[in-house]
Structures are given as structure tokens and as C-alpha cells.
Amino acid sequence: MATGDSAGTPPPPGGRVLVSTKGTAILGCGATLLVVAVGLIIVMGFSGGYVVIPTLIAIAAAIALGYGVKEMQKWEAFELVIPVWPVPLGATLDAELIRRAKTSVPDRDIAVRGLIICREKVTYQVGTDTRTERNDVCKQPFSTIATVNDGVFRAPIPLVVPLDRGGPTIDFEHNDITWRVDLEMEKLSWTSASQSFEFVVAPYLDTDAGVIQDAPRSQP
């Protein structure tokens, strides 16, 4: 899940750039796993234990780590440029997914499939257990084509927040509403084939949205 401000792309006026942290998270997990596995190998080796499984884990973690490092040497992190922040209810925004190459990469087109999701999440206490329930009240699919040109990956992302499903972002102790856009990309490595960016929906209407003019008046 992506958070944070821009690293490379400057945010548009009134907008924001969300930076994917997935690559560094995978690297962090891989490194941790590698350290744990090596530690287990050392401890179990000295105590005469069975070191085959920790060795296999260490090899897998090292491969993943090397692959991730190679990927990060080749590409910057994904960035989602959102022109208006926070996103108003009813808005249809032209966001853009950008990734810059650090080395020379061939020009090509990449199919991108996406899903805009509004999720309600609640927690409640049953005895001493805390239970959680989630429901996606809005799932809006879209597809688009990304182009890689001159070492820059760009994909137009239609960021649509419908008025009739979901509501503004809330973050209470037991009740949350979150919005995010999930993206699946073809022909990319496993570390970057899927990305997810969480965004904030504000409690005000997009006055440019034609749908609002057609909406009926609130009724008792």
C-alpha cells in the first residue's frame, strides 16, 4: 500500500503524488527473512541440528532480495499523481501512474487493469475476542494502456469516486471507510506487477460532476 508524498514527480497544484512503498517493503521482508534464516543455520549448525530447511529459506530469500535489488536498480518507485487532493465525492479525475527507469529500457505498451475499491471495515468485541468485518461497497473496474517511452512508464488512471456508493474516508476507532486503487500490470516482474494506492475522499462534492446536478434533493 502506498503512502507518502512525492519523491521524484512534483505534485500538481492542489494535488498529491503517492509513492509506492511495495518494493522497499519486499526488500525489507526479504532481508529480514535472510537474516533470520542465516541465524538459524548458524545456531542449528553449532548445535548439530537439521539445517536443510533454513538453508532453503535463506537461498529463496537471497534470490528474492537480489531480484528486488536488481529491479530497484532498474526502476524508481511507482508514483500515482492525483490532480486534486483530497478527492471530492463524485469526482472523475485523470490521475497518472508514473515510473521512471534508471537505466535504458525498451519502448513498449503495457496493459493495465485496475479496480477502485471503497471498503467499510468495522471491529467489534465478542467476549474477549475482537472481530473484524469488511465489505467492499464499491468495486469499479477499469482498464487502460501504459506506454513506456524514453525510459518513463506512464498510464492514465481514471479515478472515479461515484456518488451513489461508498462515502468520504473515515478513520474512527471501530469504524473505517477507506478508498484505494488496485492495479495489475502485464509483462512486469512479480515485485511490480501489482500495486495498490490508498487515497482520501473528502466530505465535499465535486461541483464539476454532472451527476450531482441530476441527483434528487435529500428527502426525509
Binding site: 467499510e120 462515502g167 473515515i170 469504524n175 471507510i177 466530505p203 461541483t207 450531482i212
Partner: protein, 146 residues
């Protein structure tokens, strides 16, 4: 108004729908009924009338709630008061919401603070809609049947 309401208290809300960042305006008045001398129990029994704006959640999850503003109106020795109250709605909401697991409701409550007695509480449901949504936004929850 309900829930052990103060029969001598009247609150007239200008508009029971408000946008985030705006306010609910209301006129509050308490005039003791004939024969009542400050809550019928002696002088100084009624200490104040408090008018509050609060939201709370309903639904599958445990309840979250917050009182966003409280205005205290002093009463005279006869338990009388009258005044204009404006209760501001925060600019960041939440709005009244009707989801599948979560419902957010707003209410204005008036509490008559009685010394050494049970306070009397009256509530009225109101709707908070997104900014720019007054008269347009129809996604708020249905009103509670009273």
C-alpha cells in the same frame, strides 16, 4: 425530541440539514410551566441548559461517537432561559452516512442540568451532508421514525 425530555424546553432548529463546515442554528427557550418554581423542587434546582451537537455510529461494529460542540445556557432563579445557539459542524465531517456495515448519525441534544436530580435529555436528529451538497446530496440515511 424524546428520552425523558424536559417538557418546558423548546428548541427550534432553523434547518435540520447542514453541510460540513457550516452550522446548525437554533433558538432555545425554557419557560417553566405554571406552578413550577425552578423544576418544582425549590429555587436553584435547575443549573443550566446544555445544547450539544454530536455524531455516533450504528451498525455491525462497536459504536464510535463524538460531541463536537456544547453550548451552555445559564438559567435564572426560576429556571428560565432563552437564547440563540449556533452549533458548528467540523469541516472534515463525518457526514451522515448509510452504508452496509456502518451508519453515521448526527443529533442535537438539549440537557437540562438538575441539581441532585436526574438530568432531562431531549434529542433531535439532524443530517450533515457534504460541502456543496445541501439540496443535492441524497445519500444520507433515512430519518429515524419518531
Amino acid at each position: 425530541m424524546q428520552r425523558n425530555a424536559d417538557p418546558n424546553l423548546s428548541i427550534r432548529i432553523d434547518d435540520d440539514v447542514a453541510e460540513v463546515g457550516s452550522f446548525f442554528g437554533c433558538d432555545v427557550a425554557r419557560s417553566p410551566a405554571d406552578g413550577e418554581s425552578n423544576a418544582s423542587s425549590g429555587p436553584g434546582k435547575i443549573r443550566a441548559v446544555r445544547v450539544s451537537l454530536r455524531w455516533y455510529t450504528e451498525g455491525r461494529g462497536d459504536t464510535d461517537s463524538n460531541t463536537v460542540m456544547t453550548v451552555e445556557l445559564p438559567v435564572d432563579e426560576f429556571g428560565m432561559t432563552s437564547g440563540r445557539v449556533e452549533l458548528g459542524v467540523p469541516g472534515n465531517g463525518p457526514i451522515s452516512y448509510d452504508g452496509s456495515l456502518i451508519r453515521v448519525r448526527w443529533e442535537i441534544s438539549a440537557q437540562t442540568d438538575i441539581k441532585l436530580g436526574f438530568d432531562q435529555l431531549s434529542t433531535a436528529e439532524v443530517l450533515v451532508v457534504p460541502r456543496g451538497g445541501h439540496g443535492l446530496y441524497d445519500r444520507a440515511h433515512p430519518r429515524r421514525v419518531q
